[in-house]
Symmetry: none
Subunit: 217 residues, 4 copies
């Protein structure tokens, strides 16, 4: 076939592989399954990607690409106060990475990589997580006293991020603990983002937990 068609097939396979890898993980996914879903020959994976592992790797990278293109980072004017920026940042993270119960395969797949990194994770951190994290630290810097040690800055960043990722990573367990009803009522993206922002801002001394009662509650 022509090069164009070849590239098509390649892309087809990746897009078929994504949701399956995301749902079942590397080991539980079979090449047959992927090729069938892609309408491609059983030998295609080995032909286009050499082996299953490299297909997985490329699929992870493609997931991060797609996610970045779909949910752009927020832009702020110079006067936007840091508290506002933090709210916006958390909101974006929730949109990009969490979305309880309806996360697209790209998110689920990247999640797998954070939890059990393979080769692909280094690329993912470099291209995806590191830039986000630096942006968060820049916001925090405006709220922290000068001279805050580096590792403290970092851990404060982790304190914010961890609250966000928790709902994605422990989605199933959270659902088991709170029940489906409560999940539907109080764990939508907006609500979680507002809660995390309020908790974190209170920690940073901006307002306190009793302020501005959660609009979603």
């Amino acid at each position: 076939m022509a090069t164009v068609a070849a590239e098509d097939t390649r892309a087809h396979i990746i897009e078929a592989a994504g949701p399956i890898f995301a749902e079942k993980g590397f080991h539980a996914t079979t090449i047959r399954e992927i090729c069938q879903a892609a309408g491609a020959n059983l030998a295609s994976v080995n032909y286009y990607f050499r082996d299953k592992e490299r297909l997985y790797h490329e699929t992870v990278l493609r997931a991060s690409e797609m996610r970045r293109a779909e949910v752009p980072l927020p832009q702020w004017s110079q006067e936007t106060p840091p508290a506002e920026r933090l709210k916006g940042f958390i909101h974006t993270i929730i949109e990009r990475m969490v979305l309880m119960r309806k996360a697209p395969w790209q998110v689920k797949l990247m999640n797998r990589e954070i939890l059990q990194p393979t080769e692909a994770c280094r690329d993912l951190i470099r291209e995806y997580f590191r830039p986000h994290f630096e942006m968060l630290l820049a916001i925090l810097d405006e709220m922290l006293p000068a001279g805050t040690p580096d590792h403290t800055r970092t851990q404060l960043g982790f304190s914010v991020v961890s609250q966000c990722l928790f709902y994605r990573m422990c989605e199933e367990s959270v659902a088991m603990m709170v029940g489906e009803e409560e999940l539907a009522a109080h764990y939508q993206g907006e609500q979680l983002a507002a809660h995390i922002a309020r908790f974190s801002l209170a920690a940073f001394g901006h307002g306190n937990l009793a302020d501005s009662p959660n609009t979603a509650s």
Copy 2:
């Protein structure tokens, strides 16, 4: 052989299975591997546990038992202030579930269950997570205004817990982001517990982030 030996072999297999399941997950683990590590016959798993799945289930439950026995919950006198209790609680959680880079297999295995629950997770939540979480909520109640809605209480609890679990769940990714040196210097159990307690207490209005500079920093 006698019953004693029988129980021995059973326990032997579980103890051999634990670290392997913890490291590679259910699918990537073979019973051949387990039996070899346990010095047992290939048919042993099916003999003692009926099938691979039930061995996995029992291994997860055994992990939680062992962990509870090894790290007991803190006991407080009635006058202990809630801030002190929260510090103690976070410390215990870190000890029980985190311990960067040297977590025993029990912790890793339970971690897997939270992230990708199987049947065993329900038992785990009932026997392990729920009791911990209720204890945490009782502490928070002393610091929260009366009438705080239930779901807000719960999410505040998650905000505390998520910071702890983060270092366990994203262990590998955290290591990739901060590097091995910094990890060794600033991410030991005590240090993480102190940071998380300070951040959370600040959010609850007890002290602020600038107070009592982290002794481990």
Copy 3:
């Protein structure tokens, strides 16, 4: 245990094994299944019978014993005409060996042996089939011209017997060919015996097929 109890267990196992061997055959039957059905230890079969094969053998022999005890051969006065005797004989064979769709396990098991003889078959022929067959030949002798060659006598005997066995051996296929309804209406023991007797007697020149219309038709 005492000898009495031991003999009990032995007998128990045979009686549990009978129906299972009869239904599924030697290979498809497992020792576990038998021991479970007999409420005996898994090692019992090997202990009491040395191995699975000998248990099978003994079970087959036991089946023939039981069958002979349950359905005695007919007795005739000296004046009973041979045609009457043949009818009685056929009737007994049908009772002993056929009974479409409700044959006891003994019959099914012996049937297996005829079709695919093992060691046990020699005993079965000597103790069970041969005596029946000799009795049939004695009846036929009264209807055949003197000097009928031996192999012709034998084959005539086979012609009678084969019609009877057919309904047992090909039970399932017959059911497939005629359908369940017709089976229930026209293939009961009495009906089959009457048909076979009429056909055979006609062949031997006693009456013809149009005579004495089948009472069951």
Copy 4:
């Protein structure tokens, strides 16, 4: 390899499987055995037939195809009297299905299906037995009084067929009863066919058992 080779391998496996299944039955046969006999890979059976069961099914159907191609049905002119037709029919059945002691695997395998039908038996009856049986009934109709009830027609058909099948189904037992010498002398195909025809025709009122002494006796 090319398609031709593929079909070759497929056919090869069926031809290797045939005799083994025929000899040992479905359960006692292993696919390892078959693949070895076919000079094929162990995975071949699953590749070409999905599983052991479907290989068995296809092998049974192939057996019937081969047998039909090898022994064609007799053709009669319109004037051929029914007695002559019946003789021809019995002869063909014996040729197709019996052939004491040298039956090809196709015959043995089909025999297994009649005795212990699996899924394949329905196909076998539809494609093989039913057409034969209808042909037999057509012949009998010419010898029976008009108005003979359907089930009687059928049972008369069975009386003829059962005599033929007996020598195939009970081959081993017959050999045990008459001994090898007599078997060789009086149980060849021609001889059995002649005997069965004479017995059956006598029953139908065409000639009697004393007529036309068996040329083979």
